[in-house]
């Protein structure tokens, strides 16, 4: 059974990143030998919290006690030496090396003299570790020849290879089959028995109940509550995850939808399949779901940037063959990417150049750039969007997040397009600018544009959308009408019901 002693105790942890408060005075504690689940929406702060525990980030405020002592890990090594290991969602393995070499990377045991590596010892120790985990794998196998599940096990073995007391697992089961998950849970049980504590981040409710002892819920960087996993009521948990927020940021005037702007039929790409959605003039349709569900990939495929492997789609009623971004822009489509800085803007170029970047052909039909037109266009949108800058020659990289997004919007407005895909439109933007962006979305829709919005912020999705498609693990699992949309409903479909429900 889970011990009573506190292994990890964190009080008042606060962490700021430029533009956001990631963690706001969070308290968190883990007991010896327990599996403590961290639950919360995207952006709730789970990842940030565990990265602070593992030494990847430094905290701004608060105190941390580990194993009875006050600690202040300045880097990953120090946390590792203290006995804390983290298994990230993206595995950190060397594919061309053997299991043994991966387990002991950076800490290889040496033989006497000549700086020789004691590979035999590595093999022996690896075999022991693997056996301890109940795994039948030859430590001489190259990691690239293992399945994802097996690779994950190697990561677990790696984490156990030094004296570990606390193991953090971030979404370990997202690529595993039911049988593999059973195996993993068996291992976790064994770890518990040997007194190791585990912080487990997951969205899968049944797993949480099955493997967890306690569940801590975070929301918007704040600590909400800690519940007992076995007796927890799912609805209650979801309610705590989303909270009851009513804001006056939204002023959506719902319009009667016009003609079809987008229609996809069983669209399949590298990370999504059989997606069939549509958007009409005047509508704001949202793609909701967890990070990794495949929403951004759909957007990029629609824009012709990523390959499409199956299915078809129509823009303004015309079938799109051999899509490319240039073609899509010509057809009247716009994509405002999630990674604004690297994919949406030219940070080292002035505002003016950014704003005309997508409309070069439209503004200058004969290919000759007229500086006056460029300047006028830029000034027009600077005023219209209220971009806060002394002049349009300032480099975009110096603007705040909100203003940068406005520049991106300006870029697309100058192309006179009628179908917009906004991917995380208000990420990293303060409240004031958010309101302006929401107003803008509303205006665009009211003027006859169709908008496909990808967002992880529930409030946005709920208060702005005509309809919501919920995506989960690459597929659209539900379409919700405005009347059906609620935070609970979306989450219920976004969270996996258990194991893998596909195939």
């Amino acid at each position: 059974m889970a011990g009573r002693d506190k292994l990890l105790d964190m009080k008042g942890i606060t962490k700021r990143f430029p533009g956001t408060l990631a963690l706001d005075s969070v308290d968190f504690e883990v007991r010896e030998g327990e599996v403590h689940v961290l639950l919360g929406e995207n952006g709730a702060g789970k990842s940030t919290l565990v990265k602070i525990i593992a030494g990847v980030y430094n905290r701004d405020e608060g105190e941390m006690y580990f194993d009875g002592k006050k600690v202040d890990f300045r880097n990953v090594r120090e946390a590792q030496d203290a006995g804390i290991n983290i298994i990230h969602q993206e595995l950190n393995l060397l594919p061309e090396r053997t299991i043994a070499q991966n387990i002991f990377v950076g800490r290889e045991p040496m033989q006497k003299g000549l700086g020789r590596i004691d590979y035999k010892k590595m093999l022996r120790d690896s075999e022991e570790l693997l056996k301890r985990l109940g795994l039948d794998m030859n430590p001489n196998t190259l990691v690239k020849n293992l399945s994802i599940a097996q690779q994950q096990m190697v990561e677990v073995a790696k984490a156990l290879s030094n004296d570990i007391k606390l193991l953090i697992m971030d979404e370990p089961t997202s690529s595993l089959t039911k049988r593999e998950i059973d195996k993993l849970f068996g291992i976790i049980e064994n770890l518990k028995k040997s007194g190791i504590s585990i912080i487990y981040i997951s969205h899968r409710m049944d797993e949480i109940k099955r493997i967890g002892d306690r569940v801590t819920i975070l929301r918007d960087g704040q600590y909400i509550d800690t519940l007992d996993a076995k007796t927890m009521d799912m609805d209650e948990a979801i309610a705590k995850m989303v909270g009851r927020k009513i804001t006056k940021l939204y002023n959506r005037r719902y319009n009667k939808p016009g003609r079809e702007v987008l229609r996809t039929e069983k669209l399949t790409g590298l990370r999504f399949r059989n997606v069939s959605i549509n958007v009409r003039e005047g509508e704001i349709v949202s793609l909701a779901g967890l990070v990794g569900a495949g929403r951004t990939e759909v957007a990029k495929a629609l824009f012709g940037y990523d390959p499409i492997e199956g299915g078809e789609y129509y823009l303004f009623g015309k079938k799109v063959k051999n899509p490319s971004p240039k073609k899509c822009v010509r057809m009247g489509m716009a994509l405002l990417p999630e990674d604004r800085k690297n994919e949406g803007l030219f940070l080292k170029m002035p505002i003016r150049d950014n704003i005309i970047a997508a409309s070069l052909n439209k503004l200058f039909k004969n290919g000759i750039v007229q500086n006056n037109t460029a300047t006028d266009t830029a000034e027009k949108y600077k005023k219209e969007l209220k971009i806060a800058t002394p002049n349009i020659y300032k480099l975009v990289g110096e603007l705040s997040g909100g203003n940068q997004q406005k520049v991106v919007v300006g870029k697309w407005l100058s192309t006179d397009c009628k179908f917009f895909i906004f991917d995380e439109p208000t990420r990293g933007i303060d409240v004031g600018a958010k309101a302006e962006i929401y107003q803008l979305l509303d205006d665009l829709a009211a003027n006859g544009a169709g908008i496909l919005m990808i967002s992880s912020e529930m409030n946005e999705v709920i208060n702005l959308s005509d309809r919501v498609y919920v995506m989960r693990e690459g597929e659209v699992v539900k379409e919700l009408d405005r009347s059906e949309v609620s935070q609970e409903a979306i989450l219920a479909y976004a969270l996996a019901e258990g194991g893998s429900s596909n195939g």
Partner: protein
């Protein structure tokens, strides 16, 4: 995964080996002048120089970088040694200074690329230029003759019927294979090349190791340069000009990937042999030097293109979502 494969683990046969075998068979069939003892020795000797120079290059490419200055360092070290001998400074000093020049260049490259994080193409391109320039300057634009017989013995002498240079090469390759495969430094190289992020998170001092790698590159380049000068009994300031590219080609043909962390010296050995066998075979078939260069150039480019396409395909597959199936 039985015991049989476990045994083979240490002996990873690079794909280039088959290329070598095919070429050997092909050329011996096409021309009877190919499979003579004299020719085999010739191939072995000319491979030696390239191979030694490519040892360092292998290490650099393993950590996903490149060293364009290898050729210039070769020229420079030969010139420096020749000048020393000309001024009566004795072989030990000549060799020492020659090797020192390689190490110095390695340090400069390492600092620019690893510490200051300059682009490695540009940085090593610059040092390549400087090295070539210095070589020309020191040599006054002329080839410096080397009269010292003892020095010449290194490149031309025989021991028990086999050229000394071949022994040297075998020893160096064996040592470095050991280093790469069984020492911490070697492991670090593969770790950094495999995934710099993982290496960092595992506490490996990536910067320090990268500098060491560049130092090794300069070191082996200088050794190759010295042996080349010995073999030619003269030091030409442009002796090493082609070797940078040839070394890169030898390494990549041999299967060491730019991606990093994959491949090794055995592959480079095969890649070097392939290049030199190609040269010899084409030569014996009557192609002029220019034709040889052109053909080999095309072959190399073709392989590089094939490599690039392969990487694209792999990346695409990696991006794919795997839909788990019920077992």
């Amino acid at each position: 995964m039985g015991k049989k494969l476990e045994f083979l683990r240490g002996i990873n046969i690079p794909g280039a080996t088959y290329g070598v075998i095919v070429l050997l068979i092909l050329f011996s069939l096409i021309t009877n002048k190919f499979l003579t003892l004299a020719n085999i020795f010739f191939i072995a000797r000319s491979s030696s120089i390239l191979l030694i120079a490519s040892i360092g290059m292998t290490m650099v490419i393993l950590v996903s970088q490149i060293d364009l200055s290898v050729g210039s360092v070769m020229s420079l070290s030969g010139v420096i040694a020749a000048l020393c001998l000309q001024n009566g400074m004795g072989i030990p000093i000549a060799i020492l200074l020659g090797i020192a020049s390689g190490i110095v260049f390695g340090i400069i490259n390492g600092i620019m690329v690893a510490v200051y994080k300059f682009d490695y193409w540009i940085s090593t391109f610059a040092t390549m230029g400087v090295g070539a320039g210095l070589a020309l300057v020191f040599a006054n634009g002329e080839t410096i003759p080397i009269a010292d017989e003892a020095f010449g013995w290194l490149g031309n002498g025989k021991l028990f019927g086999i050229y000394v240079i071949i022994y040297i090469t075998i020893i160096l390759v064996a040592i470095m294979m050991f280093v790469l495969g069984k020492t911490k430094f070697g492991y670090n190289i593969y770790s950094i090349g495999g995934s710099e992020q993982t290496a960092l998170l595992s506490g490996i001092d990536v910067v320090k190791n990268r500098v060491y790698v560049y130092i090794c590159s300069g070191l082996f380049a200088s050794m190759a340069g010295l042996l080349l000068a010995s073999m030619c009994n003269s030091a030409s300031p442009i002796a090493g000009a082609d070797y940078s590219f040839d070394a890169i080609a030898a390494v990549i043909i041999g299967g060491t990937s730019f991606d990093g962390g994959k491949g090794g010296l055995l592959g480079t050995v095969m890649g070097t042999l392939m290049l030199r066998i190609l040269t010899s075979g084409l030569n014996l078939m009557g192609f002029s030097a220019i034709w040889q260069k052109a053909i080999i150039g095309v072959v190399i480019v073709a392989i590089l293109v094939g490599d690039a396409l392969n990487e694209k395909r792999k990346k695409k597959n990696d991006m794919r979502r795997t839909y788990a199936y019920e077992n």
